[in-house]
């Protein structure tokens, strides 16, 4: 199987101070890879490097066989990399519907005010409403009126409107009720199987992440300390005690 995402020897950080030290990672298309580790392990930094928010100092990132080089975030989105950031990034001043439309607005270009592209976008938004019915009921409300769970739905739905092939998810379960977490995880699994979506899932909630992931990567202090089949990681007692805390 070909790997959608290949990362080799990635070193990156902030203000010249490296946070990631030589990360290697391969994610096959249509699978979920859980990125695990304690606070400060560099998980979020890894996602930020993958979506072009910070520039790697060394190493190589290839997406669908092509080297990403120094592409800016906006261009990576056009290549098919979607990123749901920490805190979800719901734009408080925009309505639910506007937030969703924004997810695919880049496809409209300069001219697409009306016409076919816009109709396509509307269809995508309608699909999200089917996926998350609570959003449909609140489509005209501004983002700041949503609950935590609704924000999560909106952020995820908005990313899906962008039709990504690789979805980077940063702590989607944070602050959510266990039932909602379970629903979200199940939905992700379902999306991967139905649409061959590939997901890189950063999670503190190790159990639920490994429950849906195909493979897992454990990070510590900016390095990958363990990687492999998700089930095997979950069963490795030493690893669990040393890095995952359960």
């Amino acid at each position: 199987m070909s790997d959608l995402l290949e990362v080799e020897g990635l070193t990156a950080g902030y203000h010249g101070v490296p946070v990631l030290h030589g990360i290697d990672l391969r994610v096959p298309a249509g699978t979920i890879c859980a990125v695990l580790g304690a606070n400060g392990a560099g998980k979020t930094t890894l996602l930020r490097a993958l979506s072009g928010l910070i520039r790697p100092s060394t190493g190589r990132i290839a997406f669908d066989g092509a080297d990403l080089g120094d592409l800016a975030t906006e261009r990576l989105v056009r290549r098919g990399i979607g990123h749901v950031p920490e805190g979800r990034g719901v734009i408080a001043e925009l309505t639910v519907e506007e937030n969703l439309m924004l997810g695919g607005a880049w496809r409209l270009g300069w001219a697409g005010v009306w016409g076919a592209a816009r109709a396509g976008l509307r269809r995508d938004v309608a699909e999200v409403y089917q996926l998350f019915p609570p959003l449909a009921a609140r489509r005209r409300q501004p983002g700041h009126q949503l609950s935590g769970g609704e924000r999560q739905m909106l952020a995820l739905g908005r990313a899906l409107v962008g039709r990504p092939r690789l979805l980077l998810l940063d702590e989607p379960s944070l602050g959510l009720a266990p039932r909602v977490v379970a629903q979200t995880m199940a939905l992700l699994r379902q999306l991967c199987e139905q649409t061959r979506l590939t997901v890189l899932l950063v999670e503190q909630n190790v159990r639920s992440a490994l429950s849906i992931a195909d493979q897992g990567v454990v990070m510590s202090l900016g390095r990958v300390v363990a990687a492999g089949d998700a089930r095997r990681l979950a069963d490795d007692a030493d690893l669990r005690h040393a890095y995952l805390g359960f």
Binding site: E74, L94, G112, G162
Partner: protein, 292 residues
């Protein structure tokens, strides 16, 4: 009573222009958190261009069009060349750079055109038509009103109904999130400046014929009025800018009409101070907006 009616119409006409100009300030503020102190001189520059084009071609409307296009280009150039580079710096730096721009543009215009007032044409008759025996409103006033209302409708549609408007708002509200969603934030900000300068250019074309004429400082008082309008309405609120502009226009018209034209600048100052002391967040914006 006749005089009151006349002053009201006059105030609303000027207020409409202040509203437009204030809207341009809000546009840039929301996108970049910069109060564009150079907006007045940019509008003066485009008006001078209109003056030249109209003079050469003999067509007012060719000059009008040239001013609007020049506004669009000038706004984009200023953002790309200058303001873009101080975007990450402390806020005072942007203010100072904009003020530097004021000096440069005023100096260059003075060198080209000289510092005397040039007669600036109005496209329509400025003498008031009588309504029910009262001289009330001129054709030019109607033109000003119509243009500003049209402008506001177009802007409202642009921002709420189009994808480009949606992206511009996203880039202004949450630039980092917008980038993650594929919005080219830098381009949107440039577009915002271009649009604001276009609006400013339009306001210049509408207001300069009602003043002493064309001069490098011709828009200074308009800027001051528009800034006051924005403070009255709240820098973050387009609706506030429109209402604030109308309010300032009316106040100035009454003060100038009843107390003498020279008192208008002092009235602006008094209005501004009162608003800042009584309602510092503006009439339309949230409580935290003022402390920047």
């Amino acid at each position: 009573m006749d005089r009151f009616l006349f002053l009201t119409v006059d105030g609303l006409t000027h207020g409409a222009v202040y509203s437009a100009f204030a809207l341009a300030l809000v546009l840039i503020w929301r996108g970049t958190r910069i109060v564009n102190f150079a907006q007045g001189v940019l509008a003066v520059a485009t008006s001078y261009l209109a003056y030249t084009v109209t003079g050469r071609s003999g067509s007012y409307w060719l000059g009008f069009l040239a001013a609007l296009l020049a506004g669009l280009v000038l706004g984009a150039v200023v953002e790309r060349l200058v303001m873009h580079r101080v975007a990450g710096a402390p806020p005072l730096n942007a203010v100072i750079v904009a003020l530097g721009l004021v000096l440069v543009v005023q100096g260059v215009l003075g060198m080209i055109y000289g510092n005397q007032y040039l007669p600036f044409p109005a496209p329509f008759d400025r003498s008031a038509m009588t309504v029910g025996g009262v001289p009330l409103v001129s054709r030019f006033d109607l033109f000003v009103f119509g243009t500003v209302v049209l402008l506001m409708i177009v802007l409202a549609l642009l921002f709420t109904r189009t994808a480009i408007g949606l992206r511009m708002r996203a880039a202004a509200f949450a630039p980092s999130v917008a980038r993650l969603l594929g919005v080219r934030v830098g381009r949107m900000l440039t577009l915002g400046w271009a649009l604001a300068a276009l609006v400013g250019a339009l306001a210049g074309m509408l207001v300069i014929p009602t003043g002493l004429g064309l001069h490098p400082t011709a828009m200074d008082t308009v800027f001051v009025s528009a800034f006051t309008a924005v403070v009255v309405g709240g820098l973050d609120s387009p609706a506030g800018a429109v209402v604030g502009g109308m309010l300032v226009g009316l106040v100035l018209s009454y003060v100038a009409g009843y107390l003498g034209a020279g008192t208008a600048p002092l009235a602006v100052l008094a209005l501004l101070v009162v608003v800042l002391l009584v309602r510092p967040a503006g009439l339309f914006s949230g409580p935290q907006a003022r402390r920047v």
